[in-house]
């Protein structure tokens, strides 16, 4: 698992307990950008940020990142938000953005499930 001993969320997130991007959800999908900008080496990124970048060379949800790195979900939201601000990751928002779910989305889910059954 994390291999880094007990995690102190407050320290990892630099004292912030709220994501800067409130729209991040547990099912938001994250992928590290291959052609990401030169990242500041020391100041802004900690070890956990780098672990997220390493893990997310392909697409995973925030929840999966948290599970694989052994970090609390709230912490991962903050860290992914940082990486997003830096342009180091792409975040695909959870699909329903509107208040009401479109019928076509439910139909797509239904069709998918019936095919997998």
């Amino acid at each position: 698992m994390s291999g880094g001993g007990p995690v102190r969320p407050y320290v990892i997130t630099g004292g912030r307990s709220r994501p800067t991007r409130t729209e991040l959800a547990f099912e938001s999908l994250v992928v590290a950008l291959a052609d990401r900008p030169e990242l500041p080496e020391h100041a802004l990124l900690n070890r956990e940020h780098r672990r997220i970048l390493d893990l997310c060379h392909s697409l995973l949800s925030i929840a999966e990142v948290a599970a694989h790195l052994g970090l609390p979900l709230g912490v991962v939201k903050v860290l992914v938000g940082d990486l997003w601000d830096l342009g180091a990751v792409q975040v695909l928002p959870p699909v329903p953005q509107a208040e009401r779910l479109p019928t076509t989305l439910l139909e797509e889910v239904l069709v998918g499930l019936r095919q997998l059954r």
């Binding site: 547990f26 779910l101 239904l110 499930l113």
Partner: protein, 208 residues
């Protein structure tokens, strides 16, 4: 997959990450909720294409009433284990299933979990239906579309639907479905029936 003889199907370190296809553009989620030991983890495991994963969320809540085991009052921080699974529905869309504890003390977590959810499957063990009253009330209050899923344990009593409906004090909108959460096919049928219900409701009441 989850080991059949383990008491806790998602214990132990997670397997290597199973990445989504790069064509996926977004994800939706459905909550699986219900009281302690009702079969949430089992259902998520039966449906998931990945080995079910577990994660933790810290929850700060004003402690109160029966759930205040500290006796200190004020704020308490609890760690809540959530287990979840995933189904890639098509090359563009993934579905996440979150096993969500239903007890009142976990409700602060529900705001985050339920935002954007397609709906919730509320599992009920008919040997102890009273333990589901809290969660059913909460789902109605939050106006989260839900279905009741009765798992059939060997000694589950059977009731006529009307009797069950009034015992659980269910509003007419919520269907009652049955399943054996351990069986993949039964779990899929349950999920399909639930999404079919959501779809029909959405077609009939576009202004929901």
């Amino acid at each position: 997959m989850a080991s059949a003889n383990s008491a806790d199907p998602v214990a132990g370190p997670p397997a290597a990450p199973q990445y989504l296809p790069p064509s996926v553009q977004g994800a939706v989620k459905i909550l699986v909720t219900g009281p302690f030991g009702v079969g949430k983890t089992t259902l998520v495991g039966s449906l998931s294409e990945i080995s079910p994963l577990r994660t933790e969320e810290t929850m700060t809540a004003a402690s109160s009433g029966v759930d205040d085991l500290t006796g200190r009052g004020g704020k308490t921080t609890t760690t809540v284990a959530l287990d979840f699974g995933r189904i890639t529905l098509n090359p563009r869309l993934a579905l996440y299933l979150f096993g969500t504890p239903g007890q009142q003390r976990f409700w602060p977590l529900w705001d985050d979990l339920s935002r954007g959810a397609l709906g919730a499957i509320a599992m009920v063990d008919l040997r102890r239906p009273d333990e589901s009253f809290d969660v059913l009330g909460r789902l109605e209050e939050q106006q989260i579309p839900f279905a009741v899923a009765v798992n059939t344990f060997p000694d589950t009593p059977s009731y006529p639907e009307e009797e069950l409906r009034s015992a659980l004090d269910l509003l007419p909108g919520a269907p009652i479905l049955y399943c054996d959460a351990r069986d993949r096919r039964a779990a899929y049928d349950l999920l399909i029936d639930f999404v079919d219900h959501l779809y029909r409701t959405s077609v009939l009441e576009p202004q929901r």
